[in-house]
């Protein structure tokens, strides 16, 4: 793929999802437009090694780099701390306080301290990977690969159910999380399946899906504007070139929006996890 976007976005998609890619060998997919599911395929780092090594792909590397950035950031702001903070320490404290006080303390409440590391790690990992979607080098939000989102959703599911069971015991926790206080016994047959569905199945699925879908859709919109704009610019017709320019300029607004969405989704995922933990260990429902 020639052109400006080739520098910004890796457009040499590996063929994944076997059939759809080969099946839709239309004129559209040859040019990469309109962008679709195949634009989210991972590229193996070592294609020569064959399909067994396809798990070692660019998005995995990206996720690893993201994790390394997060770890490096926290170690950087945490080293050599003083009572009177330096600028670096102040930066770290601002972010840490946001998660510790606004998310952990205000939502989890009493006994919030042991959830702070989880929430800090969660927020910063998601945030960095989301911002990868808008910045050079990767231009791809890691969590638009749903596997990463499912991974975090499963962990959060394990966490809030785990602390609930640890606090109330298996039966006590099941009772507390399926029967809200004050529901008459006559309605139990209705409430218990609903609550169980909501608390044990819908919560983790929505957690993962929300994160994935926001970033997937956001990245798709970016692709539409950037790839479409580039194609229009290269079309050679004056009117289309103008439209392509407008499209590219507008894509910056989309980038801005996507940064916002990325931050928001990281925050929402973290806040919801804290909320679920809070409801699992709350004294009263």
């Amino acid at each position: 793929m020639p052109g400006v976007t080739g520098l910004l976005i890796p457009l040499e998609w590996a063929v994944c999802l076997g059939e759809p890619a080969s099946g839709s060998e239309t004129a559209g997919s040859a040019t990469g437009f309109p962008p679709g599911v195949e634009n989210f395929c991972s590229r193996p780092i070592f294609p020569a090694l064959g399909a067994e090594w396809s798990w070692l792909n660019n998005h995995l590397i990206q996720a690893i780099i993201g994790a390394a950035v997060v770890i490096a950031f926290w170690l950087w702001v945490a080293h050599a701390q003083k009572v009177v903070p330096s600028r670096r320490q102040f930066l770290g404290e601002s972010l840490y306080n946001l998660l510790r006080n606004t998310v952990a303390r205000d939502i989890v409440g009493h006994d919030y301290q042991r959830f702070v590391p989880y929430l800090v790690a969660l927020f910063s990992f998601i945030l960095v990977n989301n911002l990868f979607g808008e910045f050079f080098l990767f231009m791809f939000p890691t969590f638009s690969k749903i596997g990463y989102a499912w991974g975090l959703a499963i962990l959060s599911w394990l966490l809030y159910n785990g602390v609930g069971i640890a606090k109330w015991g298996v039966l006590g926790y099941l009772k507390r999380s399926t029967i809200p206080a004050g529901v008459p016994k006559l309605l139990w047959f209705l409430i218990i399946p609903l609550e169980a569905l909501s608390n044990f199945i819908v919560r983790p699925i929505t957690l993962g899906l929300r994160l994935f879908a926001n970033l997937f859709a956001g990245h798709l919109v970016v692709l539409v504007f950037v790839v479409g704009g580039t194609l229009l610019l290269e079309s050679g017709q004056l009117g289309l070139i103008a439209a392509g320019g407008v499209s590219l300029v507008f894509s910056f607004a989309i980038f801005g929006l996507e940064i916002f969405v990325g931050v928001l989704q990281a925050y929402i995922f973290t806040v919801l996890t804290a909320q679920y933990v809070s409801s699992a260990i709350a004294e009263e429902h």
């Binding site: 989210f40 170690l75 510790r100 989880y118 910063s124 499912w150 991974g151 499963i154 997937f216």
Partner: protein
């Protein structure tokens, strides 16, 4: 990947590695944050809290100390004033006593001087009297000799009569003391 009748499309992971990597990387971050980052921040906060609390306590104790010192100074000041008053009173009393003493002494001195003077005068008078007696005796003898015209050169007799005369004189009661 499990082949299902429904095509989940992008809702299923392309590779299982994504899920595993997500979990592993997250746990790695979690471990580092839990071990190396959160304790550091919490310790810093604890230190800060301790420092601020300590500062407040220090300030409070300093204030209390200052108040105590002020009270002490005021007490000392009151004592000092009292003492000054007492000393003034004492001084006044002392001055009065001293003045009285001085007056007394002066009176005593003057009395003593007067007595001395009087004694001296008395002694002088006695001396004058005895001298006068001698001289008056001599003169009287001479005078009597001239009047009688005859020498009363017989000193022995003359002296005896003079002495007798004077003894008579002395025997006479003296009307007043000199």
């Amino acid at each position: 990947m499990i082949t299902l009748e429904v095509d989940f499309g992008p809702l299923l992971p392309e590779h299982l590695s994504e899920l595993i990597a997500g979990v592993v990387l997250f746990l790695l971050i979690f471990w580092v944050v839990a071990k190396k980052v959160v304790p550091v921040f919490e310790q810093t906060y604890a230190e800060r809290t301790a420092e601020i609390t300590g500062g407040i306590e220090k300030a409070e104790s300093a204030q209390a100390e200052a108040a105590a010192a002020l009270a002490e100074y005021q007490a000392q000041l009151a004592t000092a004033r009292e003492e000054a008053g007492r000393i003034r009173e004492e001084a006044r009393a002392q001055a009065v006593t001293l003045a009285a003493e001085i007056r007394e002494q002066a009176q005593a001195d003057s009395a003593r001087l007067l007595a001395t003077a009087r004694a001296q005068i008395e002694a002088e008078r006695a001396q004058v009297i005895s001298q006068l007696r001698t001289e008056v005796g001599g003169l009287a003898t001479q005078l009597a000799g001239r009047i009688v015209g005859e020498s009363l050169e017989d000193d022995e007799r003359a002296r005896r009569s003079v002495e007798r005369f004077i003894a008579d004189l002395e025997a006479e009661p003296v009307p007043e003391k000199a």
